[in-house]
């Protein structure tokens, strides 16, 4: 194993909070504000890690374990995910499924912890989170199936590594559909704006943020870092798909991918600034629409 295999996971672990910082600065730019520093999340994490945690007497070990298990699962996912041509640290046939199920496991324990707290408000958020994730999961699986079919491999690294300029020329239509579907999944899974608002903590339409209301101190730091990692994971899937730079030279690949990630962060910031959040009842329409796009892409690819 050479040192270049470490590049993708290291970039994810170090730069994920910065990705959120770029999104926030873009949103601040649109709002006409100066905005928080780019490295704000690093400062927040440092502050939270130095604090103590308070636990309610009604809660059990699940509340303490939830954030840790969630972060651990996401860190294992980071080892699997390639950054464009740079393959992940761990790769084997079938890691596509491990990828999807580790994400589900992280969500499962977040939901359990939210239910264990005993607040009815968090239970509501948990039920919404589970409902919407049942709608996004088929989209994710179908999109990954398209990539796997086109590369004839069941490994995430080789499936994304096989997306080149020629494959865009040959199967452009189905790749465009997969791109749109993955972008919607990326927005939905990370509680970004058309589906959920990451900034509101006390509104009735929010989904993800409500589940973590009762966590504090190091637990909250784990959750915040975990959600930054999750955003990075999905963003690197999207960027790896649309930016078919596969030079084989590790640092050229890394540079172009990081540039692409920065651009995607700005694009996400623009989407969040220019769109209104959908009404909760309209969200399933968007998610099912994304599923149909992914199905169409699969039909086109398999045909």
């Amino acid at each position: 194993m050479d040192a270049t295999a470490l590049l993708a996971p290291l970039a994810a672990l170090v730069l994920a909070p910065l990705f959120l910082g770029i999104i926030n600065r873009t949103k601040a730019f649109f709002a006409g504000r100066h905005g928080q520093p780019l490295f704000q999340l690093y400062f927040d994490l440092q502050k939270l890690l130095g604090k103590g945690a308070t636990y309610s007497r009604t809660s059990t070990w699940i509340v303490r374990g939830g954030p840790i298990i969630g972060l651990a699962a996401l860190m294992v996912v980071v080892l699997l995910v390639p950054l464009g041509g740079l393959s992940g640290l761990v790769r084997f046939p079938g890691d596509l499924l491990l990828f999807a199920y580790l994400l589900s496991m992280a969500r499962f324990f977040t939901v359990l912890a939210a239910l264990d707290v005993g607040s009815s408000f968090e239970g509501m958020g948990a039920s919404r989170e589970v409902f919407f994730s049942t709608l996004t999961e088929p989209t994710l699986m179908l999109s990954l199936a398209v990539l796997a079919h086109q590369s004839h491999s069941l490994s995430l690294s080789s499936a994304l590594g096989a997306v080149t300029v020629t494959s865009w020329l040959q199967h452009g239509t189905s790749l465009v559909l997969v791109f749109v579907a993955l972008l919607v999944v990326c927005l939905a899974e990370n509680a970004r704006i058309p589906i959920d608002d990451p900034n509101t903590h006390l509104e009735l339409t929010m989904i993800h943020e409500v589940m973590v209301l009762d966590h504090g101190g190091p637990d909250l730091a784990f959750i915040l870092y975990g959600s930054a990692l999750k955003l990075w994971i999905f963003a690197s899937l999207v960027v790896g798909l649309v930016l078919p730079v596969r030079t084989g030279v590790a640092f050229l690949d890394l540079g172009s991918m990081l540039l692409g990630m920065g651009l995607l962060a700005i694009v996400l910031g623009c989407i969040e600034s220019t769109m209104a959040r959908l009404r909760l009842l309209r969200v399933p329409n968007l998610l099912v629409g994304a599923t149909t796009l992914a199905t169409l892409a699969l039909v086109l690819a398999v045909r």
């Binding site: 452009g172 559909l177 399933p284 149909t292 039909v299």
Partner: protein, 217 residues
């Protein structure tokens, strides 16, 4: 000028407009989608390039794009404005279920396209006949499941688009006179239906088809 990937892009656009039609409650968006569908479907004869005479194909393209892409949407938008309706409020079948129905219609059409014995091999890609058939089914679905009279007209135009794509796929060179005649018929039909919808909205203050059986006296 035979571009399989370009034809595929056109067909995928047609399928996407179908999905948008079924998933959207705003009638204005539906009309724009039908117009877009008419334009991209109208381009097919030039892309296929099986005509001995390219001038004929271009004439057909100009005619169908002008009528389906410009005249129909303008006419329907005008009726919509006069009727003062902007949304399909409560369709008989919900939007998500309609989307899933469209996907199953696509699956069914693909299966049918692979098993059906056609009089001659379809031109272009193998996707042509299935997409045409899907579009016909989606048009029928719109006609059956939507409440507003203007949606029925939209569904009729979608069916017409589907038959057009199916026809282009199956028969290499339809005589231009026949094609233009069909186009003319569709034009007159949509024109008359537009007038009828306008009159209904004038008389009854609504264009809900399920309430039309109570229109006597």
């Amino acid at each position: 000028m035979n571009h399989p990937s370009l034809i595929e892009a056109v067909l995928v656009t047609v399928v996407l407009t179908n999905l948008q039609l079924l998933g959207s409650s705003r009638l204005k968006i539906c009309i724009h989608m039908v117009g877009l569908q008419g334009i991209v479907a109208g381009l097919l004869p030039v892309l296929l390039d099986h005509e001995a005479n390219p001038l004929r194909a271009w004439l057909l393209v100009v005619g169908s794009v002008a009528i389906k892409g410009i005249v129909f949407p303008k006419l329907l938008l005008r009726v919509l404005r006069d009727a003062g309706v902007c949304r399909e409020v409560e369709p008989f079948v919900g939007y998500i279920l309609s989307l899933l129905a469209a996907v199953s219609a696509l699956m069914f059409s693909l299966w049918m396209g692979s098993t059906l014995v056609l009089p001659q091999a379809p031109v272009g890609t193998t996707l042509m006949a299935p997409v045409g058939f899907t579009t016909i089914l989606v048009g029928l679905l719109v006609i059956i499941t939507r409440r507003k009279a203007i949606s029925q007209v939209i569904g009729y135009v979608v069916v017409e688009n589907g038959i057009y794509i199916f026809g282009v796929a199956l028969v290499g060179g339809v005589p231009m006179l026949v094609e233009l005649g069909v186009l003319m018929d569709a034009f007159v039909a949509v024109f008359l239906m537009g007038i009828a919808v306008y009159k209904i909205s004038r008389e009854f203050d609504h264009i809900d088809v399920d309430r039309l059986n109570r229109m006597q006296g």
